[in-house]
Amino acid sequence: MSELTELYQEVILDHNRRPRNFAKLESANRMAEGINPLCGDQVVVYLQLDGDRIVDMSFQGYGCAIAKASASLMTEQLKGKSRADADQLFAALHALLTGDPSVDLSEDGLGKLEVLAGVREFPIRVKCATLAWHAMRAALRQDRPQVSTE
């Protein structure tokens, strides 16, 4: 049962109960929706982008604890960051979730996102953890207002 404890760490449960930046962002100039057709989960990510910089960020929607905590942590981590930072952090998170050994995680400053490492033992839940991130990337590209995990 230790894998469960790994998965549902206190930080994740806390962000699930009290998601940060969980509101519509009135100043947003970018937004995108992410849906997971497998389970019907849905998240909308709002960005206030100033040139290359994410000035402010929020999300709304419904999903499991993993999806919500990951989205909440993402908004905390990406505020003030550049597009390149966002891309790099996504790549690092993806490597963390899939256990990709070719990416060196020690340098990437995953910070609190490390709490998502437990998802690695539950491959079907990787999509939950990346849902908001895919929406964030779509919002940055602003090419597709809706992305799907499928």
Binding site: L4, Y8, I66
Partner: protein
């Protein structure tokens, strides 16, 4: 009602021999994540008894050949085994004639066949198809496609808070524009057994034929298509303890005769020239190409098995399990059962305050308990009940009270985690 209602108590007198039945299902005897497997995802797909597994392997080891084509001995045996299952299905659902049984890939293909072959050729602009708010996507989307193709309109029978269809609303929807009604016999989410016999009569009084989606009914109820007087009935083998990738569509012969083929190819023709192709007779007109022969033969074994267990004894036992599980789950604080119809099959959907169904599914799995979490391919119904997803435990006649208790303990553990 003689059909569509739950089976009565076991007739054998004694208790239902669940332990002996469990021994027939090899897959049940294993541990998952260190715990004994508790398989409660039967509405998704049922496990297979050894006779079905053995039948498949024996078919391939001893009889394998293409059917209806060659004149050698193996082809003869394979053809006979395949056609024997057709008779078994006919008998199982009490159809009048084996020609009315068409083998398909499953419920989904059966409904698509009826939609594209029947509805598409009969409906015109302004006509209406009625479905209900509790349909599986496979009994919604095929009709939407037809509606787009012919300019018809889809109307929806609403459900009440208990998960029962509003028959009065249905009565109001019926009109001379109604050209088809497509209904779940039993809901895969709510477990509701719909009053289909009455609803069929109402449709017929407006001249509209009715298709029943029997995917969730056939494993639990005795189905009599002639007593129901439905025009089409679709079901899947894999939910009835048979192999995946095969199912049957029943259609009344006079309708099937008039319908154009669904797919073209081998088997469905009588003669082909480049000028004109003569279609084969029923049911072969609708069975283009080499079918899932082994799957059909396996379905035959599954039907024999279910008959041997006895659908009425099994239905009675499942009903007891349903009542027990309903009581146990309802007693858990913060747990709400979705689907409280008076007539139910052994399916329980529920939500728990503060715990998403997905998280619950993962935690239960760590306790060896397999349930389904999600929208169950019924997104409009989820919307109706205002939930993105539910957890669903669905029971087969090999499940036990101890397994219900294991489910409840695992739910308690999940509540503990999310505290």
């Amino acid at each position: 009602m003689s059909t569509g209602t739950r089976m009565s108590q076991p007739t054998s007198g004694g208790a239902f021999p669940v332990q002996r039945i469990r021994d027939d299902f090899p897959v049940l005897n294993q541990r998952v994540n260190g715990q004994p497997l508790v398989y409660l995802d039967n509405a998704s797909t049922a496990q297979k008894p050894r006779v079905v597994i053995d039948t498949l392997s024996r078919y391939y080891a001893e009889d394998n050949a293409n059917i209806h084509r060659a004149i050698h001995t193996l082809a003869e045996r394979a053809t006979q085994a395949y056609e024997r299952t057709r008779s078994k299905v006919r008998e199982f659902i009490n159809a009048a004639d084996s020609r009315e049984i068409i083998f398909v890939r499953g419920t989904t293909e059966g409904i698509n066949l009826a939609a594209q072959s029947y509805a598409r050729s009969v409906l015109t602009e302004g006509d209406e198809i009625i479905v209900s708010a509790m349909e599986h996507h496979s009994n919604i989307v095929p009709w939407q496609l037809v509606c787009q193709q012919v300019g018809a309109r889809l109307r929806v029978i609403p459900v009440d808070d208990d998960g029962e269809l509003l028959v009065d609303e249905y009565r109001r929807l019926l009109s001379e524009r109604t050209k088809l009604v497509a209904l779940a016999h039993v809901s895969n989410v709510l477990g509701t057994i719909n009053p289909v016999k009455q609803m069929i009569e109402m449709a017929h009084s407006h001249g509209a034929p009715v298709l029943l989606d029997g995917a969730q009914a056939v494993p639990h109820l005795r189905v009599d298509v002639r007593d129901l007087d439905c025009d089409f009935y679709a079901f899947s083998s894999h939910k009835l303890y048979g192999p995946t990738g095969v199912g049957a569509l029943y259609g009344k012969a006079d309708l099937l005769e008039e319908m154009p083929p669904y797919q073209g190819g081998g088997e469905m023709i009588a003669s082909v020239t480049f000028e004109k192709t003569q279609y084969n007779v029923l049911p072969y007109k609708f069975e283009a190409g080499t079918p899932n022969i082994a799957g059909v033969v396996g379905l035959g074994a599954a039907i024999d098995y279910v008959q041997q267990v006895g659908l009425s004894a099994a239905g009675g036992y499942e009903h007891e399990l349903l009542d027990y599980a309903t009581g146990v789950l309802a007693a858990i604080p913060g747990l709400q059962i979705i689907g409280t119809a008076r007539e139910k099959a052994s399916v329980i959907s529920f939500v728990i305050d503060g715990i998403h169904a997905h998280d619950l599914g993962t935690i239960l799995d760590q306790h060896g308990v397999a349930i389904r979490a999600g929208h169950h391919c019924a997104m409009p119904l989820m919307q109706r009940f205002g939930v993105p997803a539910t957890a669903r435990a669905s029971f087969a006649f090999y499940n036990t009270r101890e397994e219900v208790d294991a489910l409840a303990r695992a739910v308690d553990a999940a509540i503990e985690v999310f505290g």
